[in-house]
């Protein structure tokens, strides 16, 4: 068997293992190990395992991942979600559908200190759902808004999947964060427009909230200062070259932890829950990283990736066709897989293809950053599509009286806004790259 045949067989085997409920990290470990043994024998593999775990877990740039996860836990326990929602509500709650829009802006704000969509959806759901209910918002609209708004958690930096993408493709984390910022804001505005439209068609589902005085508004806004400060220090520090991403994440983690501590969120079991939560998510991500490492060592030996890229590039397809095919694959995969697994599994294959074709005459770095943002947005959609939209699951857990089917029905307009945004960014990469041009 040639390397390429072997690579393909192993890859198909991997997909089969995934379909049979195998955890993706273990499946990758198994598939990669079998391929590795077939190519080079048992001893090199055993030798490789001597250092693989340490080598993978001690990558300096990867250390931001557990830090951002811990920071997200502190943020969840820090009461900042409440302040964010209050501020949004004070400003725009009196608009048609304003409280739902406030839920979106507070998701975006929370996303600025939390790198995970699930944590954002869960945290904002706990705060916003009861308020929306009290103000007679329809339950299914409320759940859909929070589930969709939760995806802003990783679109707005810091973002764990974006860190992983940066490491796989050897791109600059700071530049990717910056490039994600404007699309994140556009996403939030898009969701607010959707709410506005729904509120006009069905005013009974999204009534106006109370109007606040400017004094109350300023006071409510003032209470969100820790979020602004932490975000400014973390992202500004990374981008300004003052700190490495790890140092910035360290500051963010300790500052958020301090906020959580002063607000009483770490009392009793609070601190332990933060530790457990961070450990659970860290272990999940790094076992996948370890598996992906083994698999990628094997794939590199077979050169499947480069051959696939050569083959696709050699077909001379229209670049847009290639891009939209990749997007379609992500949308399908997103229905059944989680975003991080998708990035780790597919980016090593798709990235060389993207780098090999000419898209709008972009230079290599712009293309790499642009593709990272597009991929991130597309895999994020998987969080709110049936049958396994994780965000919707989380929200259903909080609002057990709303059937998941109803939530999915109201998710559709938000999905449409996602697709419009992604298409726009494919056709106009400058939407995401302009921030880089301004700041460099």
């Amino acid at each position: 068997m040639t390397g390429i045949e072997l690579g393909s067989v192993v890859f198909i085997g991997l997909i089969a293992l995934l379909a049979l409920r195998m955890h993706i990290g273990i499946a990758m470990l198994l598939a990669g190990s079998i391929g590795y043994v077939a190519l080079s024998g048992m001893d090199p593999l055993l030798n490789y395992f001597k250092s693989a775990a340490y080598t993978r877990f001690s990558v300096y740039d990867l250390s931001v991942v557990p830090l951002f996860l811990l920071m997200g836990q502190f943020a969840t326990h820090g009461g900042l979600s409440k302040a964010l929602f209050k501020a949004g509500n004070a400003m725009i709650g009196h608009w048609r559908g304003g409280m739902a829009m406030a839920a979106v802006t507070s998701c975006a704000g929370f996303g600025a200190i939390c790198g995970s969509s699930l944590a954002t959806a869960a945290t904002m759901g706990q705060v916003a759902l009861p308020e929306l209910k009290a103000h007679k918002y329809s339950p299914r609209l409320s759940t859909a808004v929070i589930a969709a708004g939760g995806t802003l958690g990783i679109l707005i930096p810091p973002s764990v999947p974006l860190v992983i993408y940066a490491i796989i493709t050897e791109q600059n984390i700071a530049k990717l964060f910056l490039a994600a910022f404007i699309p994140g804001i556009i996403a939030a505005i898009g969701y607010m427009v959707v709410i506005g439209i729904i509120a006009r068609i069905r005013p009974e589902e999204a009534p106006r909230g109370d109007r606040f005085t400017w004094g109350q508004r300023l006071q409510a806004l003032g209470e969100t200062w820790p979020v602004l400060l932490i975000f400014a220090v973390v992202i500004g520090g990374i981008y300004g070259g003052l700190f490495t991403p790890t140092e910035a994440a360290s500051i963010g983690t300790i500052a958020t932890g301090f906020v959580a501590w002063t607000s009483g969120g770490l009392k009793g079991r609070g601190f332990l829950e933060c530790m457990y939560g961070a450990a659970g998510a860290t272990g999940m991500i790094f076992l996948i990283l370890l598996g992906a490492d083994v698999l990628n060592v094997f794939l590199a030996l077979t050169q499947v990736n480069t051959e696939l890229a050569k083959w696709v590039v050699g077909m001379n397809l229209h670049p847009l066709m290639v891009v939209f095919t990749i997007i379609a694959i992500y949308l399908v995969l997103g229905c059944i897989m989680d975003s991080l697994s998708m990035i780790l599994l597919t980016v090593p294959m798709f990235f060389p293809i993207i780098m090999g074709i000419d898209i709008w005459g972009m230079d290599a770095e712009s293309k790499a950053i642009w593709f990272g943002i597009v991929a991130l947005m597309v895999v994020e959609i998987g969080l709110i599509t049936p049958p396994v939209g994780m965000n919707v699951f989380i929200i259903s857990n909080l609002a057990k009286d709303v059937p998941m089917k109803e939530t999915f029905k109201y998710i559709v307009p938000f999905l449409i806004s996602d697709l419009i945004r992604i298409t726009a960014i494919v056709f106009f990469p400058s939407i995401t790259l302009v921030a880089l041009k301004i700041f460099t």
Partner: protein, 175 residues
């Protein structure tokens, strides 16, 4: 992403006294990992402060982060597995016979047990080799095997947790 970061599932597995012990050790490891992570963050901040105000950064902060990160991550692994925090694709098997699914989960757990056992063994060998060759970090001269030392029990614990979970799956198949 997984639910594990949000839901600390206290009832995911029926546990006897052995399970209770494993659970507590997993939790202990998770807390240690979290504390190492916190210490790493504080150390980074101390280094920034030293660098910007006293023009004396902490020597070797880079390699400290690397070592501490490896330790913190490894110590998190058993807990993740204990709360079944790993994501799986259950799309194709949602409507399958629960016993068949328990069988598949059993296989997955056994495979994880096998791999973590192999990795534990190889790490242990690697540790002794590193100790023998006196490999150490560049600036602080920290022996590399020090970071391996907490990793070996972490992977061993992961193996034990996986075997215990496999036992639970076996119970589900029989019931």
């Amino acid at each position: 992403m997984t639910v594990a970061e949000l839901i600390v599932d206290e009832t995911s597995q029926a546990r006897g006294p052995a399970g209770k012990v494993i659970e507590n050790v997993c939790k202990f490891f998770a807390i240690c990992g979290g504390l190492v992570l916190t210490a790493m963050a504080i150390m980074s901040i101390a280094s920034i402060v030293g660098r910007s105000f006293f023009s004396s950064p902490i020597v070797g902060d880079y390699e400290l982060v690397q070592a501490m990160c490896a330790v913190a991550v490894s110590m998190s692994l058993p807990y993740t597995h204990w709360v079944r925090g790993h994501v799986i694709v259950d799309f194709f098997t949602t409507h399958a016979n629960p016993k068949f699914n328990a069988f598949l989960d059993l296989l997955a757990n056994l495979l994880l047990a096998l791999f973590s056992a192999v990795i534990t063994w190889r790490l242990w060998r690697g540790l002794w080799e590193l100790k023998g060759s006196m490999e150490a970090s560049m600036l602080l001269d920290i022996p590399t095997w020090w970071s391996y030392a907490p990793m070996v029990p972490s992977f061993a614990l992961l193996c034990i947790a996986a075997i215990y979970a496999a036992g639970a799956d076996l119970g589900k198949m029989k019931s």
